[in-house]
């Protein structure tokens, strides 16, 4: 009798356990939805985005991706609103603005535990400068971008000028630009830089606007190398071989570079990027690529960037979000975007399979990827973009508008030391050195 009761109890318990396991199993199989905000672009068009979602969901049936595809011009407003509201931000998005960084999830542990992906899979400088913030891994670098000089071979041939080579100097640039300029055809030889202390500045003399420890402006912004770089800019503007700021404002494209003027054959050379390179190739422009000019013997710098693909710190599903992030910004996702769109992946192992890898322009682009990035210093000195650049903008504007003489460059820069130092001193406690 007793045995029978015990047996019955055991049967009931077994049944209950079975029920619990089956219910638990059903709950575990309930798919998790990850929200993802992204942009449709030539590099990563809508079909490529859909293909990434489809491929990921096929591999991970327990994770659903709710994707929002938006226009570039809409993205910043939407992210600012969602982050400002404190809720409604996506699990995964590009967190490219510095103020958004504190809202990213630290994925250092996830990446270290990942058997299929590591930081070594990416271009080292791109990973260090765009995925790491305050010694934390806050995202994965999606795609690579870099500036270089594109030259229109037809314009060079017509003017009888030799194509530039990688060992050219900033002063060669001015001379070539002058030789290509033809006012009758409304054609300029080359464009102007879009800001100080980018590649040419660093290439002239490793120039920095202030000391590495973010304490001193004197001797940097007005130092010998800086004066040489600003004087080079003065010479370029004075040559008349470049469009004026007004020309660029009217005829330029979205502030990223005068690619339309270049495509139209009205600019012999232009400092553009790999996105523009694809645009020019699609427009069947006969062009070549060289790194930005530098001074022989000096280290060569490149102005480069990546899109920081990150997880929102407020996500309720960090593990599933990482699963998707590592797929999208990992080899599979970037390969899909490269094959369907025109993405330049940030993983060398994928980039080497680029469909147009044999083209001269692509080889030229590869040549600039390994130079030291200006972002190396910029990323660790947020006060440059955050405050000091505004304090020194007078020199830039005065030269761009032709308002000062060549021998006034030094005095103009001397006059900026005090406001720049004040801006730096105010900023460092706020944003760090």
């Amino acid at each position: 009798m007793k045995q029978s009761i015990v047996r019955r109890i055991l049967v009931v318990i077994s049944l209950l356990l079975l029920l619990l396991v089956s219910v638990g199993g059903a709950i575990a199989q309930e798919p998790v939805t990850i929200t993802w905000w992204t942009l449709a672009s030539a590099e990563s068009p809508e079909p490529a985005i859909r293909a990434v979602v489809e491929a990921f969901e096929a591999e991970h049936p327990n994770i659903k991706i709710d994707v929002t595809i938006m226009a570039e011009s809409a993205y910043g407003d939407l992210m600012n609103t969602a982050i400002g509201a404190g809720e409604g931000a996506p699990d995964i998005a590009y967190f490219w603005e510095a103020p958004w960084l504190p809202h990213t999830l630290d994925i250092t542990d996830h990446l270290e535990a990942d058997p299929d992906l590591s930081r070594d899979d990416y271009f080292e400088e791109y990973f260090n400068n765009w995925a790491v913030w305050n010694d934390r891994v806050v995202g994965l670098p999606f795609t690579v971008g870099a500036n270089f000089v594109m030259y229109n071979k037809d314009v060079f041939d017509e003017a009888g000028v030799d194509y530039p080579s990688a060992d050219w100097t900033p002063w060669d640039y001015i001379e070539i630009a002058k030789a290509l300029t033809d006012p009758d055809k409304r054609r300029w030889g080359g464009d102007r830089p879009r800001g100080p202390f980018r590649a040419v500045w660093r290439n002239i003399g490793a120039t920095k606007p202030y000391s590495d420890d973010s304490t001193t402006v004197e001797g940097y912004i007005n130092g010998e190398d800086s004066v040489a770089a600003y004087t080079w800019l003065w010479d370029l503007v004075d040559s008349g071989a470049t469009p004026t700021p007004a020309d660029i404002e009217v005829l330029g494209t979205e502030g990223t570079g005068p690619v339309d003027l270049f495509i139209a054959g009205r600019l012999g050379m232009a400092t553009l990027n790999n996105g523009h390179m694809i645009t020019a190739a699609n427009a069947e422009v006969n062009f070549g690529i060289v790194p930005e000019p530098h001074v022989p013997g000096n280290e060569r710098f490149v102005h480069a960037w990546a899109l920081r693909a990150s997880i929102w710190a407020g996500t309720e599903h960090p593990d599933e979000a990482y699963e998707f992030l590592s797929f999208w910004a990992g080899p599979e996702g970037q390969r899909i975007n490269m094959e369907i769109g025109a993405l330049m992946p940030s993983l060398p192992s994928v980039l080497e399979d680029y469909p147009d890898a044999e083209a001269d322009y692509f080889q030229g682009f590869l040549g600039v990827l390994n130079a030291t990035q200006t972002a190396e210093w910029r990323a660790t000195h947020p006060c440059w973009r955050g405050a000091v650049i505004r304090a020194v903008s007078d020199a830039w504007d005065l030269i761009m508008l032709g308002e000062i003489e060549r021998d006034e460059v030094q005095a103009t820069l001397d006059g900026l030391v005090e406001p720049a130092q004040a801006a730096l001193d105010e900023c460092v406690p706020r944003l760090g050195g």
Binding site: E254, G265, A283, E284
Partner: protein
Amino acid sequence: MRTEPEQAPAALSIQRQLRRSAARRRVIRAMGHVLVYALMISLALLFMLPIFWMASTSLKMPREIFAWPPEWIPSEPQWGNYAEAFGKYPLARYMLNSAILVIANIIGGLVSVPIIAYGFARFEFPFKHALFLLMLSTMMVPGHIKLIPLFWLYQKLGLVDTYWPLILPAFFGNPFFIFLMTQFIRTIPRDLDDAARIDGAGAWGILYRIIIPLSRPALTVVVVFTFVWVWNDFLEPIIFLRDWNSYPISVGLAFFQGRYSVEWHLFMGATLVSIIPILVVYFFAQRHLIGGLASIGIKG
């Protein structure tokens, strides 16, 4: 005293002088007309220039767009640009979405604005002037400031990624339209209200039988302005909509502005098509619109 034959030449001379001066006046008036028309035609052509550039660009290849000298009429028009633009993004769907939003907002405006304006114009109630000022003061608040609280609110209500955040506000009255309509209703003689009241009409009857029919110019302004504002609205749709197929045309056009370049030839083609509904509405409503604005300006 002058004789008859002496008077006749003088009268004839005066008549001739009068005729000459009348002819001179006619010539001057005609010349004035010619000048005015020439000026107006010149200005019209000048204002049409951007639209002409848009049409011209929409038929060019990318390398021709900024070429010098500019080619106003492309030698080989690329009609395929239109097909490419509409094939690349679901622009027809986006135009339909815009039309839905426009119609819903117009209905909202036509329902709410007359009722609220009628209240302010015809009734006395506590704090009426303070409430009117409060309503007017909301016009001074920049739209961007309201975005985060609105986003938070609609997120809490579960209305993000629906059309409700873009439609609901219209049903609570736009302060600018309420102000316009209130001023307009104040110009309608109260005697008409009294006559209707004697005939047995209540407040609602007066509104729908007297005020609204007489407010057609002001209501036209509400309709046309709502149409243009909602059709062109970009910021709110990008904040509240998520679904690829639910965007309005204003957002759809922005897809042609990429991270590094603008597909001008496709962008201009799509934009040209997208402004056709606005031109059509303006064409049919311009008389009422100008009349409506003028009457509000004079009588208000």
